[in-house]
Amino acid sequence: MKNKLLNWFIWVAVLGGILLGTCILSLAIGSSEISFKKIIPLLLEGKGTAEYSILFNLRLPRIILGFAIGGALSLAGVMLQGMFRNPLVEPYTLGISGGAALGVCLNIVLRLNHTLGILSLPISGFIGALTVILLVYFLTLRKGLLKVQGLLLTGVMISFICSSLLMFIMAVSRAEDLHGIVFWIMGSLEEPNWLLIKAAVWVSLLGLFLSYLFSLHLNAFSLGEDEAKSLGINTERIKSLLFIFSSLLTGLSVSICGVIGFVGLVIPHFMRLLVGGDHRLLLISSYLGGAIFLILCDTFARTIISPLELPVGVITGILGGILFIYALTKKQLVLGEK
């Protein structure tokens, strides 16, 4: 047991170290370069300077948001893949992003944000996500049972319907609205509202904390649902809780940052290959891995064609996809199988 704990501690420390390094790197890199040495003096006595403002008003909020959202999306992926024993289930295959995108899109087109304020955008995204979550959940539920095939198929179909509706709205919408919609659909960590950033951090950390209450249940699910049941686990209740729980984490992420794909699919896979299938380590390491990945992708997104900026969803998709195919060709990447 001591060896196991030591092993877990080392993994968390290493990933935590990488996360810290990524944060510092992301602070220093950008369209105006600020050397590593200057960061600490700036933090202590640079208040009021332009560089201080770049670091702590522009870059730091994105890093914090990247941490919260990357962690939350990856966590949602681990939980869904773990309980359904299916490597294809991830927050976005279940149609949640489609619902959120549709909600925001309607808000923009109907100009609700002009009258209700800018905060109404994430709220309408969240309402859209929530509607899809409930729709998928109740359409799939048969005699109190939640089956993975049904869930996936319903999710994918609702996703298609949402994106078709989205395209319809885009086709008939005004040119000035179009830019807002497109940018939002592709995802961005640029969020000027500190309240939302704080909310994202708290909810995401709360998600990590709560997920630990289910870490052993998720381990039992890896044996199969019947086996988990015979280990005394109320599988239907736990599945419903975990589904709603991971959907809410995704809904929150999408409503604040737009659609950022691949984090919830790729990171849990990589972490499973690295640290193994024990959810007591997998949950925290996926959280840290998701945070590292998203912060890195965002750093790429805002520097690669600087001073212009790419949507971070584009980078996570390309980078995540390439990494995933690489891993597939190198190893048999079936759920949890080394």
Binding site: S222, G224, S230, G232, G277, D278, G336, E337
Partner: protein, 266 residues
């Protein structure tokens, strides 16, 4: 210990089992046999509370199993089924999952007692030497021993096994069944298993329950159930029943079509 009282159940309103009644005493070693699709696995699922009865009850120590708390039930009944392993855990970690029902609220780590028990049961089932190996790398027979060890970690009074010897060579078949027999004799563990191999069922089980078309066709000692008239009727094939000269238990031989035609049998 276990009482099946007028049980009728199935999937999607189709009844696979109808009006099943039997009792199981403490420390019994029982085999459930029958042709494919007769309802053996369905019965096992009903006993392990994986399938809700449409009618009737399953009682454990006098209490309806659907009234017993799931966790409590998991400390009394353990199941070894045929589910494929999809995780990359080590044998020791896999075996330790069996302690989950005994975990207290908010307990996340195995106690020293759990680890000592894992060591003890792994040496009993002779898999201690593999404890650090990944379960996915093990052979079929070794995996089955690991599954059995995981179930024993639950400290059950009753163990249910669904074809524990399927796809195994005779060495591993005998290893698994000898082990179960030893546990049954030494610790009083009650064993109920579904077996396809009638000869293994005959050699190891004290009592057989023969299921046909969702109903109990015959129950009794192996020599009472494994009679050629009964087997030919249920399995719809010609068999020869003889006696094992060493154990005196009945054994069955099948008769191929060519031989049946030559000897005038159908």
């Amino acid at each position: 210990m276990l009482e099946i009282d007028n049980l009728t159940c199935g999937y999607d309103d189709k009844f696979h089992l109808r009006n099943i009644n039997f009792k199981l005493a403490d420390k019994e070693f029982v085999g459930i046999i029958g042709p494919n699709g007769s309802g053996k696995t369905t019965l096992l699922k009903a006993i392990s509370r994986l399938l809700k009865p449409n009618k009737g009850r399953v009682l454990f120590a006098g209490k309806d199993i659907w009234q017993i708390n799931l966790k409590e039930l998991a400390m009394k009944i353990a199941v070894v089924s045929q589910s494929p392993v999809t995780n990359s855990m080590t044998v020791e970690d896999f075996v330790l999952l069996g302690r989950i029902p005994h975990f207290k609220l908010l307990q996340f780590l195995e106690s020293k007692k759990d680890l000592a028990m894992a060591e003890k049961i792994m040496s009993l089932t002779d898999i201690l030497r593999f404890k650090d190996r990944a379960i996915a790398e093990m052979s079929g027979g070794e995996k089955q021993l690991v599954f059995l060890t995981r179930a024993l970690m639950q400290e059950p009074k009753l163990i249910l096994l669904d074809e524990p010897t399927a796809h195994l060579d005779i060495t591993h078949q005998v290893v698994i069944l000898d082990l179960l027999k030893r546990l049954n004799k030494r610790t009083g563990l009650t064993v109920v298993m579904v077996l396809h191999d009638l000869n293994l069922a005959s050699e190891y089980c004290e009592r057989l329950i023969l299921i046909n078309e969702g109903q109990i066709y015959k129950t009794g000692k192996p020599e009472e159930v494994l009679q050629y008239q009964i087997i030919e009727q249920v399995y719809k094939t010609v068999v020869v029943v003889d006696k094992n000269p060493i154990s005196s238990k009945p054994y069955l031989l099948v008769v191929p079509e060519e031989e049946r035609q030559r000897s005038g049998q159908r």
